[in-house]
């Protein structure tokens, strides 16, 4: 017996804050979530699996387009033609979007009820799937006790959307302990909600398959679905199959040893090329973070845009459409310490020191930007790395960059 366990598909949810730039491989990321879902369906068909489990969050809560639902239906219909049943429990996102329940599913799809847990039997395989959908967005009760008892002589699978006892970066829903699950007596727990692949327990297997396509830098690395093979009396064989079309990767590069831009770019090329090879050439959305004490610090900090553009044009010429430079973070420090410049430049340092030592002044400085912030659309503020004027740390970093910029421009012969 062979089945696919997936979850957190978040169909049509866009890749977050992937900054547009001239020459960026826009086509590569087009419909990324749909294409990864198609990869999943292809896999199910190619492998001739017996059934597919979806442990919640097929759709994104914010997403209201019924077209997405219709698209989903068109894909599961492909499974219908191969007689592959699909079992779905809705998760917090599905409950929010309310799309999941209204779709004209084909006969091979079963969406579990939300009023109480129910069981579906696959007689030919001797498989029993138990599941319960989220009735509301926020389910704070433990759903496991409500699940039926295992049926003797059958392979019992629990399909559940949960955060267990809590997972970092994920909101707590349908909390339950690992003991709750293990002691239930099921043969496999197909969980959803956590976007990172995790085998929580070996026997019986308790598994988070993770999302099928990373949508931002926090969802980095390989993404896909879990394929489970069960042969009589043997432990289930569980493997993660990548179906993602674009992989988010973070590259931290220490610039301690470099002395010019060229060397920086060479380092970037080396690590990115290495990662591409590891990923078998799968496209990458790369965040490049420069760190370390470096003699280049002032030059870089004075004009971070220049370095960012250099990295991007390098990426275009070296990797073509296989790499999207999502962001270039500069976290370098000066290798000289700060030379105590005399005279008026000392005054500059005094002003900066005074500013950064005082949160009130920093926030006050933010007011200088109010004319801009009044114009910004509200969704700007929702971004993870959006500038928060009332965040002293962000302001401190900006002041330090502004200081470097001024020190460079005041000294540099133009």
């Amino acid at each position: 017996m062979k089945f696919i366990h997936t979850a957190d598909i978040h169909l049509d949810s866009p890749l977050r804050r992937l900054e547009e730039y001239e020459g960026a491989p826009v086509e590569k990321i087009r419909q990324a979530s749909r294409r990864s879902f198609e990869n999943l369906i292809d896999l199910a068909i190619d492998e001739s699996v017996d059934f597919v489990l979806i442990a919640g969050d097929v759709f994104d809560g914010d997403w209201k387009d019924y077209n997405t639902g219709l698209y989903f239906v068109s894909q599961v219909k492909r499974l219908q033609t191969k007689n592959i049943p699909v079992f779905i429990v809705s998760g917090n996102h599905d409950a929010a979007g309310k799309m999941t329940r209204r779709l004209p599913y084909p006969a091979n799809v079963h969406l579990f009820a939300h009023a109480e847990a129910e069981t579906r039997i696959l007689e030919n395989l001797k498989v029993a799937v138990h599941g319960r959908s989220f009735p509301t967005v926020s389910v704070s009760e433990n759903l496991v006790p409500g699940y039926p008892e295992p049926i003797a002589g059958y392979f019992n699978i629990g399909l559940l959307h949960t955060s267990l006892t809590g997972r970092e970066g994920h909101e707590t829903y349908a909390p339950c302990s690992l003991d709750d699950l293990v002691n239930k007596g099921f043969d496999y727990w197909a969980l959803g909600h956590v976007h990172q692949f995790e085998k929580v327990f070996e026997e019986p297997p308790v598994v988070f398959p993770g999302c099928i396509q990373g949508r931002h830098i926090k969802e980095f690395g390989k993404k896909g679905c879990v394929r489970v093979t069960v042969e009589e009396e043997r432990p289930a064989v569980i493997s993660l199959h990548a179906v993602d079309v674009l992989r988010w990767e973070r590259f931290q590069i220490d610039l301690q040893a470099v002395s010019n831009y060229d060397e920086i770019l060479q380092q970037v090329i080396a690590v990115v090329a290495d990662k591409l090879e590891q990923n078998n050439g799968k496209s990458i959305a790369a965040r490049v973070v420069f760190t370390g004490e470096t003699s280049m610090h002032t030059r870089i900090a004075a004009d971070p845009e220049f370095l960012k553009e250099s990295v991007r044009s390098m990426a275009i010429s070296h990797f073509g459409d296989r790499v999207w430079i999502e962001k270039v973070d500069i976290e370098t420090t000066s290798s000289f310490g700060f030379v105590s410049d005399p005279g008026p430049l000392k005054e500059l340092k005094l002003i900066v020191d005074q500013l950064v030592s005082n949160d009130v002044d920093l926030v006050d400085l933010g007011k200088e930007l109010s004319s801009l912030f009044q114009k910004l659309p509200p969704e700007y503020r929702l971004g993870e790395s959006a500038l928060q004027l009332n965040d002293p740390d962000r302001m401190k970093a900006l002041v330090a960059q502004a200081h470097a910029l001024l020190a460079h421009r005041l000294k540099k012969e133009h």
Partner: protein, 1177 residues
């Protein structure tokens, strides 16, 4: 930190240069380097020495990168010193003065007080360019205090452009009211995208409504279709019954009619035909029988009338044979006489032929002569052989004659040819002449060349200057060495240079003197400058008067003469107090003037001192000039002596070197000429020898020779001679060959002739034998013998023919008698009446009687045959009559009739019955068609249940309902189609997702733009705050100190500086005019004054810095270019003042400035002057 010494070991143009900067006098160092003396290199060396030599520098043109070394000895304020050398490199570039000990890279850090290259350049170095730009910056900033102080303090002159650039950078990202900056654009684009996304959104309700409607419409459509089907069925049924009703009625009628004819038998269809055929046959057969019986009677009658002669017919074959033989019998009788005549003629011709050849035959035996074919063939062969042999003999004889004639002609020709001569030695002479080549032309060219060379040389010697003697003499003289001439030239040049230098110096001194005197005159002329003596005089006068007045005040009266004496320099009327007052003010005036015009006095004093100096210089120069001239004359004499021994008056050494070169070239040419002459002589003698050899040889072979001919002509003659001899030799050879060939051929031809004669003799014996065999005369020629043989053969043929003819005539006679006998026998037996008839006509009449008998016999046979036939036919007719009667009887039985006559009636009735039952079948078949599968009986039952009159109205009702339903169906189908299209468009498109993705990309861009903008904006704010804070902190003391310096540099034209406020309330710098206290804005200051203001601010800031920090040398590069002399001097004094706080290095390449400092020195300005060009080794 102070620099004690700079070492330029290997750098730029310098090698091992050392500049000591002692602070004995003061720490103000003036480094003067005119152009190219290395001022700029020294300035650069200072920077590189402190902060390292950059990777790329142009200072390696003398010393390679690896060898560049600059160093210094530095004093730290703490008393520490360091000596080091700097080399080029990335690390460990500092070394001890020994260039070996490696110092730490930060060894200088303490000495530089932590200052980096950029700050050092901005704060501790100032050049002309920077000064001007600093001044301009102040003016363009309208004297904004913060900016001015900040710029001057940091040594910046770009503060404003930096501020502007920041604002510009911000502006490209965002403007509150703008639309083009990238953030503004992104916000707008985002709004559009969100709208597009919303438009592309498909709501679940929309889709579900459509889907439900579709399903409902489908159900309705199904029910409409069902009802339509029912209507169709009912319609079909009604129509079918409507069609069946008339058929059913007709069927009933037919059933009745058929019942009426039930007793009539069913007769087969061919019954009528059979009856009619039988009746017709009966009639025809009866008629045939009558006709045949009558014919038989006629035939019997004709047979009995016919007669047949039997004996004639029995002998028919004999009669016919006679008839056949009759024709040939009559022809033979006719031919016989002709045959006999021909036979006799042939016998006669044969006899004649034999008689003609009787004489030619050796055998007189007469005929028949035998002619065996073998002998005849042999004779014919021999005849042909004779012809061939005799023809060959004839041609061979002819050939022999021709050859003999030709042999005679050739022999005569050969005898006429002369004998050949030996040409070996002529040939040898000719070869040598040829090998010599175009020797004559060479000789000619040589001669021309020689003449030209000689002429040219003579001309050159004639034209050689300073020489009037011959060429030979020129070869003979000993010329002075070139080195000697070089020596003289150098000595002359040195002497000239010396003279030139002296006269230049003298000229300069004179010019300087004129200048000084003019200046003195100007000073004197402008105003008589009072002297110390004038002051002493004025004071003496005053004191004298005072001595006279004092007693008066003490109440004493001075002696009158003393009063007179004291008053003698004044107006007679002047009272003593007036005079004293005058003298007092006069003394003060002189004193004041003396003080006030001290400058003029000093300047005059200086000028006079200078004049004296230059006067002395002029006299000294004159003396030196005289001495040098004497030396020059001595040298000229010595030079002349060198040449007079050769009889030449020399020109300058340079010219003489040229002359000497000329002479050497002439000598060279002469030697070349001589060698050419030798060559010419050799060629001439060779030519003569070749000619004489040729002439001698030609004479020897007796060729015609002209002694005057040239060598080439002689060569041609010899070649001609050789060629003719060769021709002769080859002619003789070919003639001899021809003769021997002719002789050989003649011999061969004669032998052939002899052989042929032998053959002929052999033939003759053969011939004799052959002719003897048939008895011919052996002397007969072959042709004649053949003619005799031919005649014999002809005679024999004719005799044979005559014999044949004879035998035929005998045959004819025998046949004739046989025929006659047979005729007689037949006539006797068959026709005695013809006994008297001749045989042939009797035979003919017998035959015609036989023909008539034959005809009767044939007619008899024909009639018998016809009679038999007719008999058969009549029997046949009787049989047919019987058969027909039997058929009719059978028919009558079948039709159940009593007699044959009622047959036709019965037939008609049977036909009518058949038609009725046929029609009934048709009607039933049509009913089946209509019944649509049901049986006819069922249909009739069904029809009986329907009201026939109700059918039409019901059909029309059904039709109306159907039209209504059709409309409904079409409407539903359209609706379903439209719904399906709409649903198909809701196909799960990703349009909205696409817009959402684009929006995310834009938001990403927006995030980084916002961060950029924030960074730039904050930088801009911080800079403004820094400038302001710096102003607030330092404004007071800096402006005050800068004001003092500014006042000194503007020679008191401004008394101080002050912070004022402009229209906007911003603090601005203004200069306060001395005396009037009027504030002057920077925009109202001249360029030079603005420069001085900037410098004042720079120096004031520097002083402030030095108060709290380790001092660094202040490097000044020619900043006084735009200053007038007085302000320049004032500025130098200010810098000298600064040198009390830190070392000041002032670089200049203007001599004028050095002259100024000369003057300044007189005022006690303490500085050390370094001349860069001169201290350079």
């Amino acid at each position: 930190m102070k620099i004690k010494a700079i070492r330029l070991v290997a750098y730029g143009p310098f090698t091992d240069v050392r500049i000591d900067l002692p602070d004995t006098l003061s720490d103000f160092h003036l480094l003067f380097g005119p152009n190219e003396a290395g001022k700029s290199s020294t300035l650069r060396a200072l920077r590189h020495m402190f902060f390292g030599i950059p990777a790329r520098t142009a200072d390696n043109f003398l010393h390679g990168y690896a060898h560049l070394r600059i160093g210094a000895t530095l004093y730290h304020s703490s008393g520490e010193t360091i000596s080091f050398l700097r080399r080029k490199g990335k690390a460990k570039t500092l070394r001890g003065p020994d260039d070996e000990t490696v110092l730490g890279d930060d060894a200088l850090a303490a000495f530089l007080g932590g200052v980096g290259l950029e700050i050092f350049e901005q704060m501790f170095a100032i050049g002309h360019e920077e000064l001007i730009r600093g001044g301009e910056e102040i003016v363009s900033g309208k004297g904004h205090v913060g900016q001015a102080l900040f710029s001057a303090g940091a040594g910046l002159f770009r503060l404003q452009s930096i501020q502007k650039k920041l604002e510009l950078d911000c502006g490209t990202l965002f403007k509150p009211g703008g639309s083009t900056p990238s953030i503004n654009q992104a916000i707008k684009a985002l709004r559009t995208l969100r709208k597009n996304q919303k438009d592309a959104l498909l709501l679940p309700k929309t889709w579900q409504t459509q889907d439900r409607e579709l399903r409902e419409a489908n159900i309705q459509l199904e029910s409409v279709k069902h009802r339509l089907k029912e209507i169709q069925q009912r319609e079909a049924k009604l129509k079918r019954i409507g069609k069946a009703l008339p058929l059913i009625a007709r069927k009933m009628e037919l059933e009745d009619e058929l019942a009426a004819v039930a007793d009539v038998p069913d007769l087969p269809d061919d019954f009528g035909d059979k009856r009619r055929d039988a009746e017709k046959e009966l009639k025809v057969a009866t008629r045939d029988l009558h006709r045949h019986e009558k014919t038989m009677k006629d035939l019997q009658k004709r047979l009995t009338s016919l007669e047949l002669p039997a004996p004639l017919l029995e002998n028919a074959s004999s009669i016919e044979m006679l008839q056949h033989a009759l024709g040939s019998h009559r022809k033979a009788l006719k031919d016989r006489p002709g045959l006999e005549g021909r036979m006799r003629m042939l016998e006669q011709q044969a006899n004649e032929l034999l008689e003609e050849i009787q004489g030619e035959l050796s055998l007189k035996a007469g005929l028949p002569i035998k002619l065996p074919p073998s002998v005849v063939g042999e004779i014919q062969t021999l005849g042909k052989a004779y012809e061939r042999t005799s023809a060959k003999i004839e041609s061979a004889e002819d050939q022999c004659r021709k050859m003999e004639r030709r042999l005679r002609q050739r022999t005569a020709q050969r005898k006429g040819m002369p004998d050949p001569v030996d040409m070996g030695s002529l040939d040898a002479a000719l070869q040598s002449a040829r090998q010599a080549g175009p020797i004559e032309r060479q000789r000619e060219e040589m001669r021309t060349l020689l003449a030209a060379l000689e002429k040219e040389l003579k001309q050159s010697v004639d034209q050689l200057p300073l020489w009037d003697r011959s060429m030979g003499a020129l070869d003979a003289i000993a010329l002075p060495l070139e080195e000697t001439i070089d020596q003289f030239e150098q000595r002359f040049e040195k002497s000239h240079r010396n003279l030139e230098k002296l006269s230049e110096r003298r000229h300069a001194a004179e010019e300087e003197l004129v200048q000084i005197h003019t200046e003195i005159k100007e000073i004197d002329f402008s105003r008589k400058v009072p002297t110390e003596a004038d002051l002493v005089n004025a004071r003496a006068l005053r004191d004298n008067l005072w001595r006279v007045i004092r007693p008066n005040l003490e109440g004493k009266t001075p002696p009158t003469e003393e009063v007179q004496a004291a008053l003698q320099h004044f107006d007679r009327e002047a009272s003593l107090p007036d005079a004293f007052e005058t003298s007092l003010s006069n003394a003060d005036l002189v004193s004041d003037r003396l003080r006030r015009e001290a400058d003029q006095v000093t300047r005059k004093g200086l000028l006079e001192a200078r004049a004296e100096k230059f006067e002395k210089m002029r006299v000294d120069t004159d003396l030196a000039l005289d001495e040098s001239l004497a030396c020059q004359r001595l040298l000229e004499k010595e030079w002349a002596q060198l040449w007079t021994t050769l009889g030449i008056t020399p020109k300058t050494p340079k010219e003489m070197r040229g002359w000497l070169a000329n002479v050497f070239s002439l000598r060279e040419k002469r030697s070349v000429l001589r060698s050419h002459k030798r060559q010419y002589a050799t060629i001439s003698s060779r030519c003569t020898k070749l000619r004489s050899d040729l002439i001698q040889e030609l004479e020897r072979v007796k060729a015609p020779v002209d002694e005057k001919q040239s060598l080439s002509q002689l060569i041609k003659a010899a070649e001609l001679q050789l060629a003719s001899q060769q021709d002769l030799a080859s002619s003789i050879e070919s003639a001899d060959k021809e003769l021997s060939r002719l002789e050989t051929e003649l011999r061969e031809e004669s032998a052939t002739l002899d052989a042929l004669e032998g053959n002929l003799a052999k033939w003759r014996s053969g011939w004799k034998k052959a002719t003897a065999k048939i008895g011919l005369d052996a002397d007969l020629s072959p042709n004649a013998a053949l003619a005799v043989i031919e005649s014999v053969r002809e005679a024999k043929i004719k005799t044979g023919e005559a014999e044949v003819l004879r035998k035929r005539i005998a045959g004819i006679d025998r046949d004739c008698s046989d025929f006659t006998a047979r005729v007689r026998r037949l006539v006797e037996a068959l026709a005695p009446d013809l006994t008297m008839e001749p045989e042939d006509s009797a035979a003919e009449r017998l035959n015609s009687r036989l023909i008539a008998a034959r005809k009767s016999e044939a007619e008899h046979q024909t009639l018998s045959d016809r009679l038999g036939l007719e008999n058969n036919l009549s029997e046949d007719a009787q049989r047919r009559i019987a058969e027909s009667k039997a058929i009719i009887e059978a028919l009558v039985r079948e039709a159940r009739c009593t007699e044959a006559d009622s047959l036709a009636e019965m037939e008609k009735r049977a036909r009518e019955k058949k038609a009725l039952s046929g029609e009934r079948k048709d009607v039933e078949s049509q009913l089946r068609d209509v019944s649509a599968g049901a049986t006819v009986a069922a249909l009739i039952d069904e029809a009986s249940a329907v009201d026939a009159d109700g059918i039409a109205p019901e059909l029309s009702e059904l039709n109306e309902e159907k039209i209504q339903l059709d409309a409904q169906r079409s409407h539903l189908e359209q609706k379903i189609g439209a719904l399906k299209v709409t649903l198909a468009q809701m196909d799960g498109t990703s349009k909205a997702a696409h817009y959402a993705q684009r929006a995310e990309r834009l938001l990403g861009r927006l995030e980084s733009d916002v961060e950029n903008y924030a960074r730039l904006k904050i930088a801009s704010v911080i800079l403004a705050r820094t400038v302001e804070q710096y102003r607030e902190k330092h404004q007071g003391p800096l402006i005050e100190r800068a004001g003092e310096l500014f006042s000194r540099m503007t020679l008191g034209s401004f008394s101080r500086l002050r912070a004022d406020y402009d229209d906007k309330g911003d603090p601005v710098l203004v200069g306060i005019r001395a005396g009037s206290e009027i504030p002057v804005h920077v925009t109202g200051m001249s360029d030079g004054t603005a420069d001085q203001l900037y410098l004042a601010l720079r120096l004031a800031s520097l002083e402030q810095y030095l108060e709290k920090n380790e001092s660094l040398p202040f490097i000044v590069d020619d900043i006084l270019l735009r200053f007038d002399d007085d302000r320049a001097l004032a500025t130098l004094e200010v810098l000298a003042g600064l040198s009390r706080k830190t070392q000041v290095l002032f670089f200049t390449h203007h001599r004028h400035l050095i002259d100024l400092t000369d003057r300044a020195a007189l005022h006690g300005l303490a500085f050390t002057l370094h001349r860069l060009g001169e201290s350079q080794g």
